[in-house]
Symmetry: C2
Subunit: 285 residues, 2 copies
């Protein structure tokens, strides 16, 4: 193990032979839930840190980039998003960003482990600031089954804010789940999933794109953004739309956005869609 000192939290990324550490000033909380071990640390420079089974979920300092990029690009791609579903995302950061869009009528969060949300309410209250919004609905159950049971065309946007593709979360990266999403979204809906690191997981990103195509999403695009506390510091989200989805985003609306963001803006949205040369060479199957 690289970081043995109790003053540091370290996450090792085996598939990259790398590790990232944050200096810990206090361990705030530990709980072994039915699904996982949740820990909260106070760090010296990144505010509070939430980990699940030893993997960083978020820090107070840099989660704004992830949550803004997992939500606003999808919502500005759909022509008129009213009904939004978040799968996972128990820290409620995505839910909060979704509810900044005044046109949204309902935003449902479906998280497997209720304890993630309850612990986030305590240690990351800023992320949970919109949980009492009358448009918000919190469900603590299996997201895959939830989407399977949804009516066709029930949602305009589905956001998959998952952990890495291991254990329970592996199903969230596969064609059967994407096919359920495709049905629940109808032809015009937009799906967005967190899709790991372009540097470390380029093969996985291509697999996700292929699974999406196999599930009937004709339009697939990968967005790039920095995320300091995830392996390599470079992360991605992959957007998918059916045959009736817009091929581009509502740039004029994004330029006139009525709410404050710290990372996202229309220029950043356009920029995030640019593909490095090494990814242009890999064609989706």
């Amino acid at each position: 193990m690289p970081l043995t000192d109790h003053d540091w939290f370290t996450e090792v990324c085996d598939e990259a032979g790398s590790a990232f550490s944050l200096r810990i000033t206090k361990k705030l909380y530990t709980e072994r839930t039915r699904y996982q071990t949740i820990e909260v640390f106070e760090t010296s420079h990144f505010g509070n840190l939430l980990t699940l089974d030893g993997f960083v979920m978020l820090s107070a300092r840099d989660n704004f980039i992830y949550h803004e990029m997992m939500t606003h690009p999808a919502l500005y791609t759909h022509p008129n998003p009213k009904r939004v579903l978040v799968i996972g995302g128990g820290d409620c950061g995505c839910l909060r960003e979704v509810l900044r869009h005044s046109g949204v009528v309902s935003a449902e969060l479906v998280e497997l482990d209720e304890r993630v949300t309850r612990i986030s309410e305590r240690f990351f209250p800023e992320l949970c600031a919109a949980n009492d919004d009358p448009r918000a609905g919190l469900q603590f159950t299996d997201g895959v089954a939830w989407v399977e049971r949804s009516e066709a065309g029930a949602y305009d946007v589905i956001i998959v804010d998952s952990t890495d593709p291991i254990g329970q979360a592996a199903r969230l990266f596969q064609a059967p789940f994407y096919a359920s999403c495709r049905r629940a979204l109808g032809d015009a809906g937009v799906l967005v999933v967190q899709s790991e690191s372009p540097l470390i997981h380029a093969e996985l990103i291509q697999a996700i794109r292929a699974e999406m195509a196999a599930a009937g999403f004709q339009q697939v695009s990968t967005l790039h953004f920095p995320q300091c506390t995830y392996p390599s510091g470079w992360w991605s989200a992959t957007l998918a739309g059916g045959p009736g989805a817009h091929t581009d985003f509502r740039e004029a609306a994004a330029r006139e956005q009525s709410f404050a963001t710290r990372y996202y803006n229309a220029d950043i949205h356009r920029a995030a869609l640019a593909q490095p040369s090494f990814m242009q060479d890999r064609k989706p199957q």
Copy 2:
């Protein structure tokens, strides 16, 4: 110290309370030069790793992003770059990228520590592949003095591929050096400097921009790109031009670039110029 196991190289970033580690399979070389301690490691997933005084300079796996972004945006911003100067950059990766541009007539590298170059030739021969190009000139001396002694208008592009702003390198981040560059570039020339992490060093980036403006560079723009092995994984370069410099880059030429790149392309160039909202709020002084 976070990483005590000899199987890992760890760099602590004190100002962020973070650390980054790579798994080491072999220590290949150590030398204490007149200026610094140079070490080379073989890593499990990132190829060879070069460190100076314990700070990562580059890995074989991800240096392509840094070297491409430190060179091609500047060369595609100048209308017709013929005479290029690289300050620092002893690994010769920037020099190699500069020489991919067929219009370049001379590319001079001015590196303080010749040992960095000699060790790079041995352990990173791919970066030094252009060192024998007849257009290349290698000088091992002080870069600040070199620019001061240069004739006015001697260069079209100056690239400052420096270490962090501590010790000898601190002078490379200050107005007197930028004023020398301004004079050596003339009104149409382009300066580009590595400018640290937008997440961790936002104040420094603003200071660099202000020092550039104070030195007579009217046009200043900061480019963003991922760099896994540097603190936060998110890095920047800042471009500066005098009153006769182009305000935009030669996008058509970049789209038709005649050489292969792994990260850079015209879309990525445009994208790298997009500023996150939190940086748009910080106006240069």
